[in-house]
């Protein structure tokens, strides 16, 4: 029994403990954020290694400093974060506003990939500058300074675009419309067309109803259509479409939300923005 114990102890000495903390950190940096957090309770060495900047530097986007230093909240976050790990966790918990209030930026917790939201001001809304049709208000539940509120319009057209250069490479992204409906009586009868295009060529297009309570049973044709889902920040969202970012070359993705065919007035719509985030 005693010799067995001795042998076991010797064995125990000669394994991963021979690795210096930096090596363990290096290995962890080649795993993923979730595992790195999990492994902090394996042993003392793993705990220290998992807190190391070597690990979290690897999970943060390489161009993070240039993204954050453009904005005030970003620079202060950079300056006050005690470690790369805390920077990672802060960025994945909450979005920060960048680009003069026009966009928000965040990291996906599981993977560290970039998530952007284009604010309403960053999109082109046809008739958006005509107060009779659209006006701009401040809402406490919005992350942006202003949101666009629709009074009424016949020509409902919103466009956004994003350069894949700013996104995480080798990732499947989805564009999501983030909005609220004040009075769904129009959007529950009129479908809206959502499109994604690259270099003027359509990648995807679909028809949806923006009213979450829309009665699908009404018409057989309508049964397969998507409906909006509530978000944790209190807004509704519906996926506009997907695209793959290889990250090899710069591509401009054009995103469209359009309803111009039915000759009816639409109203009761508030636009928060369009979110671009990795899809599963």
């Amino acid at each position: 029994m005693e010799t067995k114990m001795k042998m076991k102890l010797e064995e125990e000495k000669n394994t991963i403990e021979v690795l210096p903390e930096e090596c363990i950190a290096n290995i962890l940096s080649l795993t993923n954020p979730v595992d790195s957090c999990k492994f902090s309770i394996v042993s003392k060495d793993f705990c220290t290694a998992s807190e190391s900047d070597i690990v979290w530097e690897h999970f943060l986007p390489s161009d993070l400093i240039s993204i954050l230093s453009e904005s005030q909240s970003g620079s202060s976050l950079l300056a006050t974060s005690p470690s790369k790990k805390s920077l990672y966790l802060t960025l994945s918990d909450n979005p920060i506003i960048i680009d003069n209030g026009k966009k928000s930026f965040q990291l996906e917790k599981q993977s560290g990939k970039k998530i952007y939201m284009l604010s309403a001001r960053n999109l082109s809304i046809t008739w958006g500058d005509t107060p009779t049709y659209w006006d701009w208000i401040t809402l406490p539940e919005s992350r942006f300074q202003e949101v666009a509120r629709l009074h009424y319009v016949w020509w409902f057209e919103i466009y956004g675009k994003i350069n894949t250069r700013v996104l995480s490479s080798n990732t499947q992204y989805a564009a999501i419309l983030v909005f609220k409906l004040m009075d769904p009586r129009d959007f529950d009868v009129i479908p809206v067309e959502l499109t994604i295009a690259k270099f003027e060529e359509r990648i995807s297009t679909k028809q949806v109803w923006l009213d979450p309570n829309f009665d699908k049973e009404r018409d057989e044709e309508l049964l397969g259509l998507e409906s909006p889902k509530p978000r944790s920040d209190g807004w509704l969202e519906i996926e506009i479409g997907e695209f793959f970012n290889a990250g090899v070359q710069d591509e401009v993705i054009q995103i469209g939300v359009v309803e111009i065919k039915v000759g009816r007035i639409k109203c009761g719509f508030i636009l928060e923005g369009i979110e671009i985030r990795p899809k599963n």
Binding site: N14, V18, P20, L30, T31, I41, S43, K44, C47
Partner: protein
Amino acid sequence: MSEIDMSVIKPEMMKPYIWLQTSDGSIQQVEQEIAMFCPFICQEIIQKGAGSSKNCAICLPEKVTPAMLSLVLDYCRFHQVPGRSNKERKSHDERFIRMDTKRLCDLTSAADSLQLRPLVDLTSRTLARIIEGKSPEEIREIFHLPDDLTEEEKLEPLKNTTDDPRIRLLNRLYAKKRKELKERGRLKNAELEGEHVDERSVDELLSFINGNDEDSKGSKTSKSKKKNRRKKEQKKSSLLTEASKPKKELSGHSSVSDKIAGTSNNHTEDDTFSHKEFDDDDDGDVDDEIDPALQEKIDREVEDFARRLNSDWPERMQEFLSSGQERKSTLFASNGNGLLRRNI
């Protein structure tokens, strides 16, 4: 030897072999071309002029055993040949790293101390693939790591930047667990030092409990020595503190209280286990006999707790919420038993 002129070194560098001394003291000759692939060896030759003869053999870092040196040199021997294609190198590497985990670790260590970055990257990537997705317990098994973090260290409070109520709950549970561990530690110390507990505090707690419609713990007089009785009352006070807490929190959110009561229910079972031991033992010093058994139980419980809490975020929440549901059904049944047992 101080710095040597490059012109003096040159003829030395033409020599095909250099001498290396490994961790076990043995010295061997190695083709210079191959050995120079390692930055450490390169530095030693250039800066210190070592390795030219058996007497001034280069002392390799302690992690470089003869076996490891041989592996490293095999790697260098292949890669220092310039004409190879990337495909060739890649397939060589894939064959090369097929070894057991222990050797991989040793090799990483040796390569790291020799500053041979490409080999470190290769072995690290392989090790990363091995550990990815495994549970902490599995990791400990693979690498024979000791579970050397204390329960307290494992229960580090989570950062709650979004003020998520679930995180607040988790932190509260952690704090409760830490407090309990501290309490046990304090009790242990108190017992060792023969501390006296203020009788009044126990009575106050008793009346508080009585006021809450619980059965009176009673002034339990045991036939044992005074020291034992004091110990028992100390233990009781900790049990009562545990019991009173869930009462207060039950008035709050129902699911919150289920979980907290559920957890404390577990603890009281542990405490009653130890309480029983007290009853059985007439002697004063029962510390050593209880601790290992109880310690193991606590360890397992905390390990399980920590494992569940440190797994994937959504999974963790799912598990937690579902176990909270389970506890809800068993709570009232065992709570009754728990109370009865405590009343012995």
